[in-house]
């Protein structure tokens, strides 16, 4: 009989606010095979992990069930704890009571608790039947691919190539540098953008390990960590690359505010990037009005794009230097200029004569054409009255938005995006530059609007992470491959037909014809298990017995609940 230990996580309030952890704990103790049940405020903390490890030893547990968040992010952590406590990591079972319970039934504590109990019972039933496994190893293709040649992608690619890793940078446009190409000075410190980009690009081109593909679009991605295959079209040629790791650095676009504040109809109304282009040519004179938070921090696009305040502050000061004596006004809803350098720029702007006018979302400014320029009418919340400002130029600070093709990229890589189209990392704090899919990483504004400095941090972080499997040279493949029970196998060959990888053959085994799975080729989809009419094909960690036990446990739980 298995000796199962169950650990229920509060996840701070994340689980405990909807699920009665004590009740689930008491219930877990009644389940067959459970010899110990405990709970932790944060099971994944050092403290939580060591309490799991010591309970394993103290109670001689040989199966561990953790009911907490999702196996997609935290399974490796708990499996490792099991290994450290001396039990095979495949004797661990994860039950998701956060994403699948507390977070989606936040207002139904009774039902959420009942559901958590059933899920725990199902996990325990499966755990009792788990078997220790050993893992296979696969070689890693020592090549990295970076999608996107903006600052983040360039940083990642030049870092990887600099480490001696063959690196392919795939950029859809005909130039490198992304949005920063249109910017001359980077705020708040004021470095020049061009030398920075040129330096990154030359580091990449000088390295014999860097390969740049411009005007290239990815068409297909298959495989898994260590062994990806990308198909892309460069110009008119279709090419294929094998790679061990992929970094997504596809960036963001400036939101085009068509119809807002006269944009598109009043020629004097432009966006921030257009102002940058004009500033680069020294082609701005007269009074300028900035309007902040255009198209963001409002219903439908709730987020703050984070960089726009600093960009406007930086450009307001540049305008004053370029044409002293002109009036520069920033109409804003809040000025976000965190950090020492940015706050200094804000202070400098206020002291140098940049005028700040605060407006509210319910009374936005109005812009109308006036000669070559425009008039901005705004209700100043501080003065409590409406004022009029003449402007030669009105600059709309719009947010960065996810580019339309990121949907396609997300689909190709099977990685998630949030409701605004930005990519979602595996975990905000534990794995901020990785996707839950192994071997795929993310950096820069593809994930969230970031400053140039943050692009560089994140590019370096993604490169460091991506180099890990490549440096290790091998990835261990999960022991979830299929196997045939020779005694039950009637050699019908259904599994052979169904296998997408040609991993199964019918050969002589133990003096009879039977199916044999080539473990090096099997990827563990389990399709053959479903195809087998004799219940001879099994998948490690997902046997028909284990899944059957889960169904039984749910039925039992449902009947108990019904009484």
């Amino acid at each position: 009989m298995a000796r199962i230990g169950v650990f229920i996580c509060h996840c701070g309030h994340n689980i405990a606010s909807a699920v009665d952890v004590e009740a689930v704990l008491a219930y877990a103790k009644t389940l067959p095979g459970v010899v110990f049940a405990g709970h932790n405020i944060y099971s994944c903390s050092q403290e939580g992990l060591s309490s799991i490890k010591s309970s394993i030893k103290e109670h001689q547990l040989d199966r561990v069930v953790v009911a907490a968040c999702t196996p997609r992010t935290h399974e490796p952590l708990f499996r490792k704890a099991c290994e450290q406590a001396g039990i095979n990591k495949y004797l661990f079972e994860f039950v998701n009571i956060r994403e699948h319970v507390s977070w989606i039934h936040a207002k139904e504590p009774v039902a959420a608790t009942e559901k958590a109990k059933k899920l725990v019972a199902m996990g325990v039933a499966k755990a009792a039947l788990l078997q220790p496994q050993t893992e296979g190893e696969a070689a890693v293709t020592p090549v990295a691919v970076v999608l996107g040649g903006g600052l983040a992608g360039l940083t990642a690619a030049s870092s990887l190539a600099g480490q001696g890793i063959e690196t392919h940078l795939i950029e859809k446009s005909e130039r490198l540098g992304g949005l920063l190409r249109d910017v001359s000075v980077i705020g708040p410190e004021g470095e020049l953008a061009k030398p920075l980009l040129d330096d990154m690009i030359s580091r990449l081109t000088r390295s014999k390990h860097g390969h740049i593909h411009l005007k290239s679009t990815v068409k297909g991605i298959s495989g898994f960590v260590g062994n990806f295959e990308l198909t892309f079209v460069e110009g008119c040629d279709e090419k294929k690359i094998k790679a061990g790791a992929i970094i997504v650095a596809t960036g963001a676009n400036e939101f085009t505010p068509v119809g807002d504040y006269g944009f598109g109809s009043v020629p004097a109304v432009v966006t921030q990037l257009e102002l940058e282009r004009r500033l680069a040519k020294g082609d701005v004179a007269g009074d300028v009005v900035f309007i902040q938070c255009v198209g963001c921090r409002q219903p439908g696009r709730e987020y703050c794009s984070r960089i726009c305040c600093n960009v406007s502050l930086k450009n307001a000061l540049r305008l004053l230097t370029l044409s002293p004596g002109s009036a520069v006004t920033i109409i804003h809803r809040d000025i976000m200029s965190s950090g020492t350098a940015a706050e200094r720029v804000y202070k400098e702007a206020s002291e140098t004569g940049v005028r700040f006018v605060r407006y509210g979302l319910e009374r936005p400014p109005k812009v109308s054409a006036e000669g070559d320029g425009a008039v901005v009418e705004v209700f100043d919340e501080t003065l409590d009255e409406t004022i009029e400002l003449d402007a030669g130029l009105v600059v709309l600070a719009t947010p960065l938005v996810s580019p339309p093709d990121s949907e396609e990229t997300g689909k190709l890589l099977k990685v998630p995006r949030d409701k605004h189209g930005f990519f979602l990392e595996a975990h905000v704090k534990l794995r901020p530059n990785e996707f839950a899919t192994d071997g795929v990483f993310v950096c820069g504004s593809a994930r969230w609007p970031v400053s140039a400095r943050e692009c560089i941090y994140q590019g370096l972080a993604a490169a460091a992470k991506a180099s890990i499997p490549i440096r290790e040279g091998k990835v261990v493949s999960e022991a979830i491959t299929a196997y045939a029970d020779v005694d039950k196998c009637a050699a019908c060959g259904n599994c052979v037909l169904t296998c997408p990888y040609d991993a199964i053959e019918i050969i002589q085994v133990k003096g009879k014809l039977a199916a044999k799975v080539n473990e090096a080729v099997c990827k563990g989809c389990g399709s053959c298990v479903a195809a087998c009419p004799n219940d001879a094909m099994q998948q490690k960690g997902f046997t028909t017995q284990q899944l059957g036990a889960m169904i039984d446990a749910l039925v039992k739980g449902a009947l108990e609940g019904a009484q």
């Binding site: 699948h100 977070w103 936040a106 298959s222 099977k414 998630p416 997408p500 298990v529 479903a530």
Partner: protein, 139 residues
């Protein structure tokens, strides 16, 4: 009589639908608490026997959720699912079990909202069908 509260099982493939369910959670999308997710590696590994066993034992509904066609992590795995589940449904109808208790759908890792919608609609549909007549029957 107390309100009928169905018990539903959902097989979700690890790569798309389970991740979609996680995304629904991360996005705090609220949905009825009747559905219990079982993680499998691919929707193609869902044996029709699992569906039959669940229904015979009184589970009120079974969902099989996989990646969209063309997106299966295992190339053509879900092509098999797309054929197998309808056959299982046909067999159920043949023996007099309402095949509407079984539903196959595709939910990608990015479709938290679709997951919420599929769950909500299926729970409603099963509520409409009423309890599985096999519930509590000793065979």
């Amino acid at each position: 009589m107390t309100e009928f509260n169905p018990t539903i099982l959902a097989f979700c493939c690890n790569w798309c639908s389970y991740a979609g369910a996680d995304l629904a959670g991360v996005s705090r999308l609220q949905m009825p608490p009747n559905v219990h997710v079982v993680r499998v590696m691919c929707s193609a590994s869902v044996k029709p026997e699992y569906i039959f066993k669940s229904l015979v034992q009184g589970i009120d509904g079974v969902l099989v959720l996989g990646c969209h066609i063309g997106d299966c992590h295992y190339l053509t795995g879900n092509h098999r699912t797309a054929k197998r589940v309808p056959i299982a449904q046909k067999l159920l109808d043949d023996v007099g079990v309402d095949s509407r208790r079984v539903k196959l759908d595709w939910v990608s890792a990015a479709e938290g909202e679709k997951f919420q919608q599929v769950i909500t609609e299926f729970v409603d549909e099963i509520k409409g069908l009423g309890p599985n007549p096999m519930r509590g029957v000793r065979l």
